[in-house]
Amino acid sequence: MNEAIVEKGLFLLSIFSILIFLLIIIFIILESFPAFQHIGISNILFGINWAPDNGFYGILPMILGSIIVTVFALLIAIPLSIGCAIYIEEFSQNHIKTLFKPIIQTLAGIPSIVYGFFGLMVLVPISRDFFGGSGFTILVASMVLAIMILPTIISLSQDAINSVPSEYVESSLALGSTHIQTIKNIILPKASLKITTAIILAMGRAIGETLAIIMVAGNVAEIPTSILSPVRTLTSNIALEMGYAIDIHYNSLFATAVVLFSIIMVLMIISNVIEHKWGC
């Protein structure tokens, strides 16, 4: 009897998680609906002007902004973090390895806002001195994002490298391959699947980051022309204007959220497909 109650209770909890997911989607879509209806889907998605006071609600600059910043962040973060993971797992002594785990954990736990603050106080002035202008640039924003996602990719890549069966590694070494050859031909190909999902996870987090980006990106709603232009991302658009938006402006921010949400969903589905096709 007792047992059955527990089982039913836990079952309801599980259904609850599905309901929450649906609730979030439904609410965001419902609130965005008036915007899509009045302004038109293509005017929102492909409009290059964002001027809510004058009735322009194009979010193309923000979509491009989010994508560009994330791509640059990944370009910086991927080589560094995979290199770092290989260094920790393959080249460092055991006692150093155990030291690294809590350090990486702590770095992953440090609020992204602290990294954003560091960017604001240090990287923005450096960019201003070197390249002129305001210093609030795509370059700085991507660097802050890269720093933020480094710990995630490092620790997941470490797990991936660790999970390569040691027989493979030892066979390769026994056959006369050097350590570097083994890493290149055995370990990385074997771990590449998990590393890819780690990168997708980090990508999702980079696209979703909000306040740290606002602090360093300049937030001008225009299509960026160079790596030194200021940029506004989808997330910043929501966070910056939510405080005072009303009516259609308010709904258009939810439309921004719908676009953001769809991008994340596509990433999730890709990572799921990768895992099911080539994983396990």
């Binding site: 047992e3 609130e31 290199g83 770092c84 440090i110 602290v114 720093i147 696209i207 966070a239």
Partner: protein, 277 residues
């Protein structure tokens, strides 16, 4: 020659990454530690954060951390137990796994929007620490579930079967065999989820009210530390106090990770010993 070059590349990237974080943390601490005093930690905020301390923010953060833990741990672990011990429907398991992964990767600002329209306005719970904790729990549950599920799935089957074979019911087995073994793994997941909730600012900025009086109850408005840091820095109110707040944040995260690592390690050693003997 080429080998050596690759080796140098790997070493440099490791070195750069470590150097990067040393520089960042050292920079914040060097600027922040001089700001921290007894007054900074335990005095009320004055003049929108230009003067006085950060006691209201520390209290808000602690309230939020505790409430989020109370809401999210039972639900996250409960779902994981159901999925691994009771549920036989593989499709449902896969579906919930996919959903929880999606929920875990929804940007925090979308949770903030949802919290604002649904919890604050639609449910009329208002701006409060309670509402903020609800939003953060929604964010924390998927992570706790995912890590707990992996841990529970990795428990040696012979232990579970021995317990069942000795006549224990499912529930008894869960309580006295499965959970004690799974505690270290589950704790890691909980810490991961709760430090993220603790560090979150975007999800709560339109839910928590963002005032700076000392919160007396969980239904008061509040302002957690990360949000305070954001407002101080982005509105240029006081960079000095922003450094101080950032330093406090780093120390709290450091304290949480080190202490839980220590306890989990000790517990793990004890459990291993008990299973062996």
């Amino acid at each position: 020659m080429k080998e050596k070059f690759i080796k140098v590349l790997i070493f440099t990237s490791g070195f750069i990454t470590i150097l990067l974080f040393v520089v960042i943390i050292a920079y914040i601490l060097i600027n922040g530690i001089p700001v921290i005093s007894f007054e900074f930690l335990f005095a009320n905020t004055l003049n929108s954060g230009r003067e006085g301390g950060i006691l209201p923010m520390i209290l808000s953060s602690i309230y939020i951390l505790i409430l989020t833990a109370i809401f999210s741990i039972p639900i996250g672990v409960g779902i994981a137990i159901y999925m691994t011990q009771y549920c036989k429907n593989i499709l449902l398991i896969k579906f919930i796994r996919f959903i929880s992964r999606c929920l875990a990767s929804i940007p925090s600002i979308i949770y903030g929007l949802f919290g604002f329209t649904f919890i604050v306005l639609f449910l009329r719970l208002g701006w409060s620490i309670f509402s903020a904790s609800l939003v953060l729990s929604l964010m924390a549950i998927p992570t706790i579930f995912q890590v707990s599920e992996v841990t529970l799935n990795n428990i040696p089957l012979n232990l579970i079967e021995s317990s069942l074979g000795l006549g224990a019911t499912r529930l008894q087995t869960i309580i006295s065999v499965i959970i004690p073994i799974a505690i270290p793994g589950i704790t890691t997941g909980i810490i991961l989820a709760l430090t993220r909730a603790f560090s979150e600012a975007a999800a709560v900025m339109y839910v928590v009210g963002s005032t700076f009086q000392i919160p007396l109850s969980i239904f008061d408005t509040g302002r957690p530390l990360p949000l305070h840091l954001y407002i101080l820095a982005s509105e240029g109110i006081s960079f000095e106090n922003a450094y101080g707040t950032a330093t406090v944040l780093i120390f709290i995260v450091l304290f949480i990770t080190i202490s839980t690592n220590y306890f989990v390690n000790r517990y793990q050693r004890r459990i291993k010993y008990e299973i062996k003997s």
